[in-house]
Point group: C2
Chain length 342, copies 2
């Protein structure tokens, strides 16, 4: 709380001008400074505990060392905090801080928030959605360094960071293939079109493609694909209950852990055991996956890595548009076993 040490204080103590002190401390070499002077300045700065005032520097140089994270909503998905943590940690490693703000999907709020950030001379922006979707960044953002996180934008050129959903689908399928399943693999919660998500939710579409590709490679295909209206457990329960009315699956690929939770309940109600009778693999790797009995194998959403990757792109000032895909690793648990020997 005591008044800050300024560059002028350092210069005075070292017996040089502010100019000289500034050149030494910002490490610039295009001005000749005698090494003895250099040492004196550095010593003075050290003794006084000098820290440059970044507000003042920002005013002069237009560089504030801050990144703005603008997302539709952090809160609705419980693990989005990980994205923020990944972003904040990486930013900090590069001496940057992160402003976090949410628009709740309101374009007016979005504009005002962005304006507040611009007023504070934020250097660069993370434009994020909390589940993969198509979004239109505000016009105000044009011309600034931006990385799109977990969303795609048609008419906005910027690097885009996305989970590798296609490969994730293949990973899930291969986990079952490796355990010996090949026929009667059913998919719960496949691609799903709505007016809001034409062509299906991005993640769903890609996961499906990955699953199909991996299965096709060994000459097979999903025995059925059941779309679910929504991803709460009860929809998984319904879908699987119905499925069990007319089929006898060897394995289930559920599109997320909540659906898998519902699937577990339905299997249980039908007297089927996981993984003895039916193997289950899922996506997201939420906490739920490790809580279920038996623990659920799930292909993890790389929340933390999405954050770190996006900030790294910003810090390195990569501007070429294009997608960076972050791997989704399989967390293998007890829910996958060999096919039942019926």
């Amino acid at each position: 709380m005591s008044s800050r040490v300024t560059l002028a204080d350092v210069a005075r103590r070292a017996g040089v001008s502010r100019t000289a002190a500034s050149f030494v401390l910002s490490g610039r070499t295009d001005m000749r400074i005698a090494s003895a002077t250099r040492e004196r300045v550095l010593a003075a700065a050290d003794e006084l505990g000098y820290r440059p005032n970044l507000t003042a520097r920002g005013l002069r140089t237009n560089v504030t060392g801050t990144i703005g994270l603008i997302s539709d909503t952090i809160a609705t998905t419980p693990y989005a905090g990980e994205v923020i943590k990944g972003a904040a940690d990486t930013a900090f490693k590069h001496d940057r801080l992160i402003f976090v703000a949410e628009t709740s999907g309101d374009p007016n709020v979005e504009r005002d928030l962005l304006q507040e950030m611009l007023d504070r001379q934020v250097d660069a922006f993370l434009y994020a959605a909390m589940f993969t979707q198509s979004r239109q960044p505000p016009e105000l953002l044009r011309g600034y360094p931006v990385v799109l996180l977990n969303c795609v934008a048609e008419s906005f050129d910027a690097p885009t960071v996305l989970p590798d959903e296609t490969e994730a689908g293949a990973t899930a399928a291969r986990a079952l293939l490796d355990a010996g399943h090949i026929e009667r693999i059913h998919v719960i919660g496949g691609r799903h079109d709505t007016t809001e998500t034409p062509g299906g939710v991005v993640a769903g579409r890609e996961r499906m493609a990955g699953i199909n590709a991996a299965l096709a490679k060994v000459g097979t295909a999903p025995a059925s694909v059941t779309e679910c209206v929504w991803h709460a457990p009860k929809y998984g329960y319904r879908a699987v209950s119905e499925l069990l009315g007319h089929a006898r699956p060897s394995a289930l690929i559920c599109f997320n852990d909540r659906l898998a939770f519902g699937a577990y309940q339905a299997l249980h109600d039908h007297g089927l055991r996981v993984p003895d009778d039916v193997s289950v693999v899922s996506f997201d790797d939420s906490d739920l996956a490790s809580w279920l009995r038996p623990a659920l194998s799930s292909v993890a959403l790389p929340h933390y890595e999405l954050g770190t990757t996006a900030v790294t792109l910003l810090v390195e000032n990569r501007r070429e548009p294009g997608q960076v895909r972050v791997p989704m690793p399989l967390r293998a648990r007890a829910s996958i076993g060999p096919p039942a020997t019926t």
Copy 2:
């Protein structure tokens, strides 16, 4: 991206000095400005789309309109994002932005992060823990406006925002009493001492006190209290399985939803139905509560409100130390019914 409109531009267009423009636009009345001039300045600002550069203002006034949120870790608890959202939303309502940073519990990281914030002239701080605990804020923080969020600090005077755990305990107990339970109410996951949490985890201790008080008021008490080592479902499963070996509970109060999840599994394995045979009430109201079958009644942790309340205190510049308790509402669901008529 086009070069910003500055105060000088506005002044020029209005045909006045920067001084006059500044006084008009910052709404100060201690200098006499003719109302015709006022109007001209406002019109000019409006036409040019003037926005004050907050970096420049910050340099001059030492007020940047930023709040620093320093927490041990956002990521380990999935709903902590809500705290951030509450804080960010409220900050935005007051034209402030929030820097979010995590220390991962490392005091060196904490110090460096704080220093980065101070270098950017952050106005005020939220010092937060993601589950209620005792923490020691760094010395650097002394003298700045600070609100403690979800943590208590002995030798650091600052307003403190905490969930009202005691009342929450009473709420849970009353929910059972209201349904007719009075005997054979068992507690799963009571107060629990460790070297890290002497006297027990704050929340646990207080919830227990609230439960005891509410039950005592009608002349009863918990039939038993089982401490759990950790809060994963399997510990709840174990605790309840063991309990069922020698007791026949009428209702269970679980210390959080994960334990309740384990409790459900144990009850199910013993052929007991919720709520027909045993009622269950819990704390936290995570997503899990609404996913379980039957849906779990749970006393909600007010994450969002913790964030809003803390920022409100900061913005209003309340400095008196003391605790503000945020209510924890009961989310009543299907897991509570009348006592079984054995």
